[in-house]
Structure formats: structure tokens, C-alpha cells
């Protein structure tokens, strides 16, 4: 019996040992699995550490830098681990980045807006003061006869004009209007007006082969844009060189070409200039450099708003930069090519003017020679001695092109005869304005005095129609511009 006991013990031991072994193996497996999971988690943790360190040290600084520097769309680095990006953790990180960049952008916009509005109101006030001062200077120039006083006044006037231009430029850049509404003016006057506003106006030489008007709404912006181009040209060239301005007809517009003999621009500057001149990019006044470079940005804004084009990517024949401002036909009055259209433009600008200035019947004979002389007297480059016959020929298409004034033919009919009689004295000159305004709305049948009442009625209707038309033009224009 006792012999059986060890056997049983042995069996028991064997079973216990077996079970122990099983348990040990199982435990070992469990431990290995746990170890594996621990390793995995450790790896994931260090990946997250690494990711968040990357966020703090690389992506956020890149974001800050992108919002500070000019180049728009911030691309602040990618996440390190692509797998992590798909997890909730990665998405949360991305949300942090997005929100931060949104906050930065919003703050930038807000700061830009408030800076612009402050600058705009300040500059508008300065601009108004400069205009007021210009008026008083003009009055003083008329009042004082002493050349010494005039010399001083001219200098003050010059400084004031430059001051006004600077204020105007900054105001425009901040979204303001260019300011004054001017009458339609000949291109040559527009360029000379621009010349008036820069420091080295004596170095500007203007050659014009075109005699056309810039439409009223575009005068001031074009003056400002040309002034900025001239200022650039004059400032970046030697003081003893000339800046040449050519006004040249083009296919469907006119080019104002500014050539300087300066140092030119390198490729980087040219790219930057082209970018600003395009007017497409949003101007951030904090990024214009120090000192701020307003010129091209202002031109770009004006060009985009009024529909002309400016390029500075050519070399001038004198070694410097050739800047070209292209004015499309929409901003020009082609009519000036022909006969005596000026009074018509005057009537458009001030629709009321023709009626008070109607000429008495007796003046009719007198009128004709003046019309001839008047056409020649345009301050542009038109040849002074232009034959009235040629004008008579050109006037017909003009009348056709222009719907308003019914009376275009009348001035030419008369103009051939009296120009021969030409020599008589001052009397003719005395009432020039009346003559001009009379010429355009004159009756369709020039010879008969009987035709006057209907003709007068027609011209009044014409003036009214022109007035409403120009009013409508002006209002659509302002809306269009406001929309931009």
C-alpha cells in the first residue's frame, strides 16, 4: 500500500508540474504581448512628442513668419508622421494650426483696415488743405505784381503741389478717391499737370503728336499716375539728364511713354514692379518697405480702378527705364481730332452754359472767322495754321459720330468765307467764348435767321440730353468704382 503512495505523489507532482508549466508558458506569452504593446505605445508616445515638438518649433514659427512676410497663403510645414495625421490627435493638432492662422490673418486684416482708414482720413484732410492753399496761392499770384514776390509764390506753389500729390497718393492707396473732379482736358495738359507735381519739373520734356482729351473722370487719376511715373524717372536718373515724355497714338488708345536715362531696374525689381503695377494684389500698407514705396502700388490701384495699363518692363533708348501708360479709347474723347468740338465738350461739362451765351443775330457774320481761329487755338500740338477747308471736311463724320448736337455742319459752312477776310481787329476776339458755344449748337440751316427759334429749341434739347447723359455716365462710373 505504501508502495502505491509514492506513485500517487509522483502522479500528482507530474500533474502539478505540467499545469505549472502550462501556466508559465501562458504567462510568458502574456508578458511578451504586454511588452510588445508597451513598446508600441512608447513609440506612439514618442511620435506624438516628436510631432508636438515639430509643431512648436517648426510649424508655428513658419506660420508666424508667413503672416509677417509678404507672400500670402501660409504653408507652415507638414506634419512629420503621415499616419498620425489621420488620428484624432493629428486632427486636433491641425485644428490648432488652422485656428491660429485664422486668428493671425484676421488680426492682420483688422490692423490693415484700421491703419488704412486712419491714414485715409488724415491724408484727405491734408489733401483738402493743400487744395485750399493752392487756391490762395493762385489768388496771391494774381494780386501781386512784383516779380520777387511771384518768384517766392512760385516756389511755395511748387512745394504745395508736391505735398498735395503725396497726400493724394497715400489716400488713394488706402482706398480713397483721387479727389478733384476736373473738366475733360487735352492729353498734353494732363501730362503737364503731372509735371507740375514733381520736384524736377524742369527736366521733363514733353513731345506730343496727339491732340485728344482725357475724359473728365479719368483726368485726375491719369495725372496722378503719370506724376508718379515722372517722379520715379526723375529721381532715379542723374540731375543733369532729361526725362522725355512722348504721347503717341496707338491702335485703340494712346500711349504715354516716359523715358529716363537712369540706372534702370534689375530683374527682381522689375518683377516686383510688375506685380504692384498689375493692381491685382491686395495692397498691404505694412509691407511697402521702409521708407514705403508708394509709387507703383498707387499706379496699380488707379490702373485697376480706371482701366488703363502701365508697364515698366522695357529699357529706354537712353539706358534707363521706359515706362508706358496705355490709355484705352474709353478714357479718351476722340472727337478732338476734328473741327471745333471743344464747345461741345464744354457744354457736356456744364450743360447750362450754352443758353446764356447765345450770340445775337448780328454777331453771326462775325462769328465765323473766330470759329476758324478757335479750332487752331487748342493748346495741344495741332498746327496753328490748319486750313478751315480741311476742318469742314472732317466735321461731317464727327457730326455723325456724335448723337447730341444737331448743328455741327453750320460752323464749317461759314468758315471758308470769313477766314479770307481775317485781318480785323480786337472786336472779334472779345467774345470768343460766346462764339464757340454758339458754333456747336448753331442751327442746321446756317443762312437763315428765321431758323433761329427752332434751332435754339433744338440746341437746348441737345444740351439737356447731353447733361442727363453725362450725369448718368458719372453716376454709373461712381457705382462701378465703388463696387471695386
Amino acid at each position: 500500500m505504501t508502495q502505491h503512495i509514492p506513485g500517487a505523489v509522483v502522479w500528482c507532482l507530474a500533474v502539478v508540474t505540467f499545469v505549472g508549466l502550462l501556466l508559465l508558458i501562458r504567462q510568458h506569452r502574456i508578458t511578451a504581448a504586454l511588452r510588445r504593446r508597451l513598446r508600441l505605445h512608447e513609440a506612439a508616445l514618442s511620435a506624438r512628442d516628436e510631432e508636438i515638438r515639430h509643431l512648436a518649433e517648426t510649424r508655428l514659427p513658419a506660420l508666424v513668419k508667413a503672416s509677417r512676410d509678404a507672400d500670402a497663403t501660409p504653408v507652415p510645414g507638414r506634419p512629420l508622421d503621415a499616419e498620425l495625421a489621420a488620428t484624432p490627435y493629428g486632427r486636433s493638432l491641425q485644428r490648432i494650426v488652422d485656428q491660429l492662422s485664422g486668428v493671425g490673418e484676421a488680426a492682420r486684416l483688422r490692423a490693415d483696415k484700421s491703419a488704412k482708414s486712419t491714414l485715409k482720413t488724415t491724408m484727405r484732410a491734408l489733401q483738402a488743405l493743400a487744395s485750399e492753399q493752392q487756391l490762395s496761392i493762385s489768388e496771391m499770384q494774381g494780386r501781386h505784381d512784383d516779380p520777387d514776390v511771384l518768384q517766392d509764390l512760385l516756389e511755395v506753389d511748387h512745394a504745395n503741389a508736391q505735398f498735395g500729390r503725396r497726400a493724394q497718393a497715400v489716400a488713394v492707396l488706402c482706398g480713397s478717391w483721387p479727389g478733384r473732379q476736373r473738366a475733360a482736358s487735352p492729353l498734353l495738359e494732363v501730362v503737364r499737370g503731372a509735371t507740375s507735381r514733381i520736384r524736377d519739373y524742369r527736366r521733363i520734356e514733353v513731345h506730343s503728336r496727339v491732340d485728344m482729351d482725357v475724359v473728365s473722370r479719368a483726368v485726375e487719376p491719369v495725372v496722378l499716375a503719370v506724376a508718379e511715373l515722372l517722379d520715379n524717372a526723375a529721381r532715379h536718373s542723374q540731375p543733369n539728364t532729361k526725362v522725355e515724355v512722348g504721347i503717341r497714338p496707338a491702335h485703340n488708345g494712346v500711349s504715354i511713354v516716359v523715358d529716363d536715362a537712369g540706372i534702370g531696374m534689375d530683374a527682381g525689381e522689375a518683377d516686383e514692379a510688375a506685380r504692384r503695377l498689375s493692381g491685382r494684389e491686395d495692397i498691404d500698407i505694412h509691407r511697402l518697405g521702409d521708407p514705403p514705396q508708394f509709387g507703383f502700388a498707387v499706379i496699380g490701384v488707379l490702373a485697376a480702378r480706371y482701366g488703363f495699363r502701365v508697364s515698366v518692363d522695357m529699357q529706354s533708348p537712353y539706358g534707363g527705364v521706359r515706362a508706358v501708360l496705355f490709355l484705352p479709347d474709353a478714357l479718351l474723347n476722340r472727337v478732338r481730332f476734328m473741327g471745333p468740338p471743344i464747345p461741345v465738350q464744354g457744354a457736356e461739362a456744364q450743360p447750362a452754359s450754352p443758353s446764356p451765351s447765345r450770340v445775337e443775330a448780328g454777331a453771326a457774320a462775325d462769328a465765323v472767322p473766330r470759329a476758324g481761329a478757335g479750332a487752331g487755338a487748342v493748346p495741344g500740338a495741332r498746327a496753328a495754321g490748319e486750313a478751315p477747308a480741311a476742318r469742314a471736311g472732317t466735321a461731317a463724320p464727327e457730326a455723325a459720330a456724335r448723337p447730341g448736337p444737331p448743328a455741327e455742319p453750320s460752323p464749317e459752312v461759314g468758315s471758308a468765307a470769313p477766314s479770307a477776310a481775317g485781318g480785323l481787329p480786337k472786336r472779334r476776339r472779345r467774345s470768343p467764348v460766346r462764339q464757340e458755344t454758339d458754333a456747336s449748337p448753331a442751327p442746321a440751316r446756317p443762312g437763315s435767321q428765321l431758323a433761329r427759334p427752332p434751332a435754339e429749341a433744338a440746341s437746348r434739347m441737345g444740351a439737356f440730353a447731353r447733361g442727363t447723359r453725362s450725369g448718368r455716365d458719372a453716376s454709373t462710373d461712381s457705382e462701378g468704382n465703388a463696387a471695386q
Binding site: 487744395s131 487756391l135 493762385s138 499770384q141 494774381g142 501781386h144 505784381d145 512784383d146 516779380p147 520777387d148 511771384l150 512760385l154 516756389e155 506753389d157 511748387h158 478733384r180 476736373r182 473738366a183 475733360a184 482736358s185 487735352p186 498734353l188 495738359e189 494732363v190 503737364r192 499737370g193 509735371t195 507740375s196 519739373y201 524742369r202 482729351d213 483726368v219 495725372v223 471745333p340 471743344i342 464747345p343 465738350q345 464744354g346 456744364q350 452754359s353 473766330r370 481761329a373 478757335g374 479750332a375 487752331g376 487755338a377 487748342v378 493748346p379 496753328a384 481775317g422 485781318g423 480785323l424 481787329p425 480786337k426 472779334r428 476776339r429 467774345s431 470768343p432 467764348v433 464757340e436
Partner: protein
């Protein structure tokens, strides 16, 4: 006669551009009532627009300096600079106003009148 007048904007082209920065006329004999007349057949190519206007204004006869200034909408002193230039370049001739001393004495005329009345 003044085609540029309706469209002319006085503030656009400033006087220093018109006179090229000069305020002193090259001659001081020009005053408000000096009469100027254009000399025909002078080349106008080299003249600026204001000077051309002057030549056209003065083409038909004599004009006083004040009248020219009014037609150009310029200050008289600025106009004097332009006119002096044109006189120097031979584009204009000057006719000074008739001096008082050369006008017949009013008393003399009165006496002639009385004489004539008593005679007839």
C-alpha cells in the same frame, strides 16, 4: 476763340511749369496797358501751348497785356514773363500806349470849338 476755356482747369498746369520756373520778365518795359501784336510767319514749333495761344490771340491786332492775361486765365505777372520771351524771340512787337503828353490838350480843343462856334 477760346476753345480751351471751357475745358481749361486752372489748377492743372501750374504757373511755374508755364514759365519754367521764372518769375522775372526779361524786360521790364511791359506793363498792364502795353499793346502787343503778333509778328506773322514766325515758327511756332518751339513754343509751349500758352505761347501759341498768345500768338493766336494777338494775330488779329493789338491786345493789351491785361487782355492777354485775362484770355489765358493767367496772373498778369506770369503773362508778362511769357510776353517778354515772345518779344525777345521776335514773335511779338510792342506798341507802347500813347503817352499823355502827345494827346492834344483838352483846353486847346475847347478853344478851337469856341472859335468855330463864334465863326459860324
Amino acid at each position: 476763340m477760346t476753345p480751351s476755356r471751357p475745358g481749361r482747369d486752372r489748377g492743372l498746369v501750374r504757373p511755374y511749369v508755364i514759365t519754367e520756373g521764372r518769375a522775372h520778365p526779361t524786360r521790364n518795359t511791359v506793363d498792364l496797358v502795353t499793346l502787343v501784336t503778333a509778328v506773322r510767319d514766325r515758327p511756332l514749333n518751339s513754343l509751349n501751348p500758352e505761347k501759341r495761344r498768345v500768338m493766336e490771340l494777338c494775330g488779329g491786332g493789338a491786345l493789351s497785356v491785361a487782355e492777354v492775361a485775362a484770355h489765358l486765365s493767367l496772373a498778369v505777372s506770369v503773362t508778362k514773363v511769357l510776353l517778354s520771351d515772345l518779344i525777345d524771340s521776335g514773335h511779338l512787337t510792342v506798341r507802347p500806349p500813347i503817352p499823355k503828353a502827345q494827346l492834344p490838350d483838352a483846353r486847346l480843343l475847347q478853344e478851337v470849338l469856341h472859335g468855330l462856334r463864334s465863326r459860324f
